[in-house]
Subunit: 468 residues, 2 copies
Amino acid sequence: MLCIEVWVTGRFLSILRNPAICPLRNSVVESADLIIHARWIVPIRPANTVLNDHAIVVKAGKIAALGPSENINSQYSAAKNITLSDHVLMPGLINAHGHAAMTLLRGLADDLPLMEWLNDHIWPAEGRWVSGEFVSAGATLAMAEMLRTGTTTFSDMYFFPEATAKAAADIGMRCQIATPILDFPSGWAANAEEYIHKGVALADEYRHSELIQVAFGPHAPYTVSDAPMKQVATLANQMDAQIQIHLHETAFEVQDAQSKSGMRPSERLNALGLLTANTQCVHVTQLNDRDKQIIQESGAHIIHCPESNLKLASGICPIQDCLNAGINVALGTDGAASNNNLDMFGELQTAALLAKAQQNDASAVDAFTALELATINGARALGQEQTLGSLETGKWADMIAIDFSALELQPVYHVLSHLAYAVSAHHVSHSWVAGQNKLSDGKLTNIDTGQLGKLIQDWQRKISVASG
Amino acid sequence: MLCIEVWVTGRFLSILRNPAICPLRNSVVESADLIIHARWIVPIRPANTVLNDHAIVVKAGKIAALGPSENINSQYSAAKNITLSDHVLMPGLINAHGHAAMTLLRGLADDLPLMEWLNDHIWPAEGRWVSGEFVSAGATLAMAEMLRTGTTTFSDMYFFPEATAKAAADIGMRCQIATPILDFPSGWAANAEEYIHKGVALADEYRHSELIQVAFGPHAPYTVSDAPMKQVATLANQMDAQIQIHLHETAFEVQDAQSKSGMRPSERLNALGLLTANTQCVHVTQLNDRDKQIIQESGAHIIHCPESNLKLASGICPIQDCLNAGINVALGTDGAASNNNLDMFGELQTAALLAKAQQNDASAVDAFTALELATINGARALGQEQTLGSLETGKWADMIAIDFSALELQPVYHVLSHLAYAVSAHHVSHSWVAGQNKLSDGKLTNIDTGQLGKLIQDWQRKISVASG
């Protein structure tokens, strides 16, 4: 009798698999923490793939195996087994740009262009209210909303980043914390030097974290001068850290820079050494051929925030052009004060629809590409493509389930099409971060929503009274 | 003792209202069918208004009164009383353009331009499958989705319109049925003459209906020749009926017409007498100054379908320009095969965001204007402004409630902003059509969703196999 099986990269490689001559098969069943069977799995890698009746095995927070349910059943046993019979299981969405604590300013001022919105409303409110407590409350609210709507990883750029990092660590949500850097003072730091110093200290604090990645967040070309920009470039290089920066958000920003310095911001940042494969350029609604070439050659990434860009009338990033040029494009909601939600399914739908009109081509940013923007491309932008963004053996078990039983998702001809064009955030039923369940049947598992609601009401009362 | 109160247009007009000297006040309490108290009421008329702690009184399907809750309590008693303590009550949304039965083709073909999508996918599928049974099932699914997502009135243009009308009458949903007219045959009619004849017969059948309004639906300039166009114009004028037509949906349509006839479709329809204040022009993504003048002078309405227009890369209707020119602009989802949902809150958000980018002005289509597109402007387009589209005494009690208690809607500074930019369809908790409850705490009250789900699965199986 011959029965040889070898455990290779998380799967049994059957050299000879006839069960009739492998009577000892059950005795080599591998134990795991969690097995999830799903009607459909959309692993994102391989591309354009929908797997029917497959299962995922989770062990120590990572994906140990993915295969047809019947094979998984014969090869693994787990302490916890979940069957999602009407659901799609896919990688958790990656919200690659936002200001989580700004949920507390959701809807405070609308229908205004960027600079008026910032100067007359957001910055005064921030000046008055932002503190560690504000950031902790707002970031927790943001995480509650993001986990409910399918996001498992987010990037943040805001004051008191240690409060956001702590809230994320407490909840167990994955994030990139881009510590803010500006020339001018805030409640958090007095000058660029102090911002950078505090950022480096925070990076040191979380250097061993598996959830929290600390990056540099020089706010924008128009708020950070050359010396701190260079210092960030040097430090990021030394520390192999990521950089996230608002870039070419509006035509005014670009024109103003050109008239003052003779250079477009992309050219200036490139000259300062700030654009590398570790740099995430957010917004980029203004993009000429030279900008595109600079970004492409540097290996920098673009974080597209279509709803915020539309709402503030900033412009539209030509993402299909960027993708065609080989630039990695990820997706973000921006803060809730300019969106006004953190719903990544809505955002990826907007990204897909908008790209078609902009390119005058209905095939631009097709359904699967839209899903990539919100998953694997986000992982790549954050420098975490090896561990995030797709359901592949060895990656973190960061996953979401979407319940396809709702009437408004019937009938189902093409799962990828539904995910891009028909699903709403509230169809998200489950999520896991590193195999830890964060959302179950639409309920958050480890956030006390009642207590959070009261905390937010307190902030609302204070801010409302002051805003008149 | 003097106590005089006069019942005027559905309210007590107190000539002297001191309760201390009106001891008989309770004895003149007016009876009603339903009183709904809500945390906020957004009546749409007066414009830009949010009423706190008000109530609406419903009698015989219509709004009998609207006032502060305490006043209503002292003036009315009703068989049924509802208190919506965390909710906004507002007019039901009006989905002014769609093809309800096409829910059965939801997601069948995506990422394709209009003519390829129609010629290679939709028309072949329709040719094979469309029947009275198909339309009945698809329209019922559409109504289930629309009622769950805040729509209480819809317009439809599709084959076998008698099946859609019957399904709507059975469910008790308000609609305009634009009976289709084409030069070419379908499963429903052989030629333009038969389409028109059947349309007139259906109008006659529903002439006394308070829910169903039958209109003429000449499909598009490129599918209906001059003679039937003229006949429709004459009949609509005689019957005081509405006309709905796809117009200037794509640049190709306009260019093709110009090259063949020397006229733009707007000019041709105007010359044929088809553009009047009873005409609803759908899409209109191509609009030069002459088109705008023709539509404005005719009093015709524009039905904007931004998500379908984006998805098919048809173009973008410049709706703020149209509104500025005095053209009434309403909103529609189009069919679920080109959207791919019937979510009017999503649609009005897209309309608002898109207009800002298109006008390069963040104040274009502000939050309240976006709500008008989906309510009072829809009523006006359908010729029903006197009875629909706002919560005013004497109008039909077509209403929806939106639950603002969800964490992702916290905090609440501006209710109108939240309705336009933060609310998702699933926050809709209740709806009423003519005072009849259709949705209660998110559950449909008179559609058997289990039975409907099975029916849709049967259709999915048949169509999948054939499209396989």
